[in-house]
Symmetry: C2
Subunit: 299 residues, 2 copies
Amino acid sequence: MSESRPVADRPLVIVGVGLIGASLGLALKAAGYEGEVVGYSRSSETLSTAKSRGVVDRVEAELAEAVRGAGVVVLTTPMRAMPGILETLSQHLERDTIVTDGGSVKASFVEAARTFFSDSLDRIVPGHPVAGREHSGVDAGDATLYRDHRVILTPLTETDPAATAHVRSLWQRCGSEVVELDVATHDAVLAASSHLPHYAAFGLVDMFASRPEKAGIFRFAAGGFRDFTRVASSDPVMWRDIALCNTDAILSELDAYVDALTRLRKLVAEQDADALEALFTNARDTRNAWLSELEDPTP
Amino acid sequence: MSESRPVADRPLVIVGVGLIGASLGLALKAAGYEGEVVGYSRSSETLSTAKSRGVVDRVEAELAEAVRGAGVVVLTTPMRAMPGILETLSQHLERDTIVTDGGSVKASFVEAARTFFSDSLDRIVPGHPVAGREHSGVDAGDATLYRDHRVILTPLTETDPAATAHVRSLWQRCGSEVVELDVATHDAVLAASSHLPHYAAFGLVDMFASRPEKAGIFRFAAGGFRDFTRVASSDPVMWRDIALCNTDAILSELDAYVDALTRLRKLVAEQDADALEALFTNARDTRNAWLSELEDPTP
């Protein structure tokens, strides 16, 4: 294979057209992106919807066909599908095709990339748009999903800075603020700020679901419960894969959380009014300070 | 003391003009309630704001003065203040003054009422508006807080049905759906649907607040974290008192939750993909079914 046009002039291929991939296609189109955007999915229904919603310009049911001549390939499938896809891609891409992804865990993607692209790691730009919704699938795709959200790139020492810059510019066109982190920091930080809250919410709803008196519990659940558990409506396959790909960091956060709840339990059991008030005040003040910083984007 | 007018024609006194009390005053006024509404608070600043915002018609800095000739007294202070207030009220109310409250735990209110109104329990109507906001204080008062929210009344066997009916009608004027539960069921159900999520959120934020790397965690926290932790911005004194008043039920829920997280941890550690996907799917489907019922109010 040979392709002489620069990557920016060749098709951008979205592999996996669910919430994340479809939102990327829609956001690029809404931003006036003029290149061809191609969509691949194992599901013909997803491809049909992607085409009819204008998520992509062209759909392909064969991965090899989808990525032919591609300038950039973006993997937005569940994470455990990525190693198999990277293996296939390694046999079909141009030498200069940039490979990036939207997975929530970066070490597992990097490990697979090092396996299947060991002699061309310069093209690998691991990425993670820190944005989500509790709805999933191509129908949930939204051109505004990434606007004012952060995208984290975790380039390797081998990554070509020009490849990173190209991926950065794509996300910036979607309205995102792009930052760079190293892989290990990314996976540790996201285990705390994102993965733990998801598993805490899934665990709480699953616990109530199995109770005989669950009808009464849900009947009197109000806005606090609704917000606390919102992320428990997220895609089960995506969150299964995150648990399987970021296992050590998630175990560490779950252990820390169980310890924190056990300490809180002790204060309740001891009726330690002062310590309870101090803990709740610290939590409230910390959260409110965080919200203030969000509203005031100056550093 | 003697008062011959019916309770409905005498002042309604709100003892504690924070989020809950101020919202009640504003909601009644917005609904065209024509009786006099009186506000009492230990804080002169709160009283001044309550008066200037039109939360109440009249403010009083002395509890005995505030409740003089009252038809209904509504306690909306933090719960640990209620026994002392009930003791004072027992020396100053008319024989037929109805006493109700807005506390989140009912057994502790009932216990105090049985202590200080042992010979006139017919007037006691324990209540709990299941509505809240993460902001507290008189400034957070909102005439719409109770609209389309449930208010739970837990009348005693001794309570005069006419007193319950009167309190019910007040909340209905605020747009609430009023239901009745027994005290023990109320406290157990709310420990699950409300108290546990609050303590789980307080515990999570407090845990991150003490970490050296907290700036990074909060920097990359997104919408899921924001919603999960929203209730951690709630009033620390209110939630301290709930922990001290509903201790056994809360300990039981915290224990169950730690068990649930420990089971989830085991599935992650064992990389049990099928069981993880099943757990997350069960949680998602349960939550979505609950949301569907909320949107479809038919029984």
